[in-house]
Amino acid sequence: MNRSNNSAGFASPTGLASGLGGQGAREVIAIIAVAVMVIGGGEFLLRFFEVPQYILPTPSAIAAVFASAEMSTIGQHYAYTLIELFSGYAVGASIGLVLAAVITQFPFVEKVITPYILLLVTTPMLALVPLLILNFGFGYTPRIIAVALASGPMVMINAATGFRRVDTMKIALARSCGASTLQIFTKIRIPMAMPMVIVGLMIGAIFGMITAVGADMSGGGFGLGSRLTTYSSTLRMPEFFACILILAVTGITIYAFFFWLGKKLAGWES
């Protein structure tokens, strides 16, 4: 395997993919050096100009939050948000995948349904959260629904693009060996759709996370999003930025996971 094969495991929407792919020790060192410079430089500049903590906290103040007693509270609320994310995503992504697989087999149904899916994709589901709260109260339910509504259509529309890729010759090959419709689906259509399915799953997960945090913010009471509101209104900026950092790392973890999955399951498409 050479490096060019490594770096573009699947159709990645950003150049970040190649950044996360296999790279030499020199690149790793450069990345660390830049991080040290940015963090160290930030620390120095904020101290030098005596910027108040409530405007922008120093990196060391943010780091200190992770060792403070407040961390257990933040961790607890992070867990609530993760529960919303995983439950909503599990529901939304499964429905999205199944719908994509089924609907693409019926071009007429697909034509009729696609505009509504597009509508769901383009409407920010966060806007529905107040309505969902009215109907389902302040618990998990409205947030899980919002996450499912945000991630499901994203998964579906990308996966459908994958399932729509028909290669007549490959299907003919399977048929010439006597393949049933189900076998054509499992042995040809699903592997062919896999690169787009994984892209859809990744985008869906990231949209799900955004929506979970946003729903926390308008739902209040619990979840990392609600912490953000609390900390910013009480000017506890180091804690605020610690939450942001946790969310950023979560997002990158989601990305890295699907990048790895894409290389594993759809690495053939470069």
Binding site: K170, L173, C177, G178, W268, S270
Partner: protein, 269 residues
């Protein structure tokens, strides 16, 4: 190798119309064809003459509008395990290794792949040790060799080749033609080859069938007299050249129904 009983491939009155009857396109009209067991025939003709339709019908991938196809005493109404097919370009699944590609037909039929046979076939086509490679790691010629192995692995009686080497460069193509003839001499499959290259058709076949378009019909059958095994030098000989030109002329000037009768009287070229 298991002893196969003599099974001729028979096509009778094969007719295929696309679209509704009056305005439809007649891709095939009353095509009769008999290929003896172990015979190698080529079908050539202008694009759109229905040769691919004919081949895909024999593979059981197209339903005929009327007419029938039989292998020995069995009717061919769908894909048949004794009929193997090679497609345009190698048509390997890019997400499977070479070995997994070759095992696909076994998987679909829920048979255990014959690993020993697959290994010896891979060795035979010069792909020994390449089984675990992915298709994109192989050159076009090597991919096409792998697809030969895939088509032969389940030991079919009939091998259908749908313009398999069209995408290869001239040198690789010659090399593949030589390999196909060698393997055919060893295994004696009944082979139907569709090609745009008349030289390839003549080089490989015992008989060349010429088809004419609209409606798709067989306009002439040319016996190829050259002894086997043939060498690539044959392609430079005067006789070979003349035969290729004769066929080319026939394709460019399809005989009318009247002259068809006179050709039938004259027999083969």
């Amino acid at each position: 190798m298991k002893q196969t009983t003599e099974k001729a491939l028979n096509v009778r009155g094969a007719t295929k119309t696309y679209g509704t009857q009056p305005g439809g396109i007649q891709a095939l009209k009353d095509v009769d064809l008999t290929v003896r067991h172990g015979e190698f025939i080529s079908i050539v003709g202008p694009s759109g003459c229905g040769k691919t339709t004919l081949l895909w019908s024999i593979a059981g991938l197209h339903k005929l509008t009327s007419g029938a196809i039989a292998l020995g005493d069995e009717w061919i109404t769908g894909p048949h395990p004794s009929i193997g097919m090679m497609f345009q370009e190698a048509n390997l699944l890019p997400w499977r290794s070479i070995r997994k590609n070759i095992e696909l037909p076994f998987e679909i039929r829920k048979h255990r792949p014959d690993a020993a046979r697959i290994d010896s076939l891979l060795d035979r086509v010069g792909l020994g040790g390449f089984g675990d490679k992915m298709p994109r790691e192989l050159s076009g010629g090597m991919q096409q060799r792998a697809s030969i192995v895939r088509a032969l692995a389940s030991d079919p009686t009939v091998l259908l080749m749908d313009e398999p080497f069209g995408a290869l460069d001239a040198f690789t193509r010659d090399e593949m033609n030589k390999l196909v003839e060698e393997i055919w001499i060893e295994a004696r499959k009944t082979v139907i080859l569709i090609t745009h290259s008349i030289a390839e058709a003549v080089y490989l076949a015992d008989k060349v069938y010429i088809m004419s378009a609209r409606p798709g019909q067989i306009s002439r059958v040319v016996e190829v007299p050259f002894a086997r095994p043939r060498s690539l030098d044959l392609m430079e000989s005067r006789d070979f050249f003349d035969l290729v030109n004769l066929i080319k002329h026939d394709i460019q000037h399809p005989p009318t129904v009247k002259s068809l009768a006179s050709i039938a009287k004259r027999g083969t070229a």
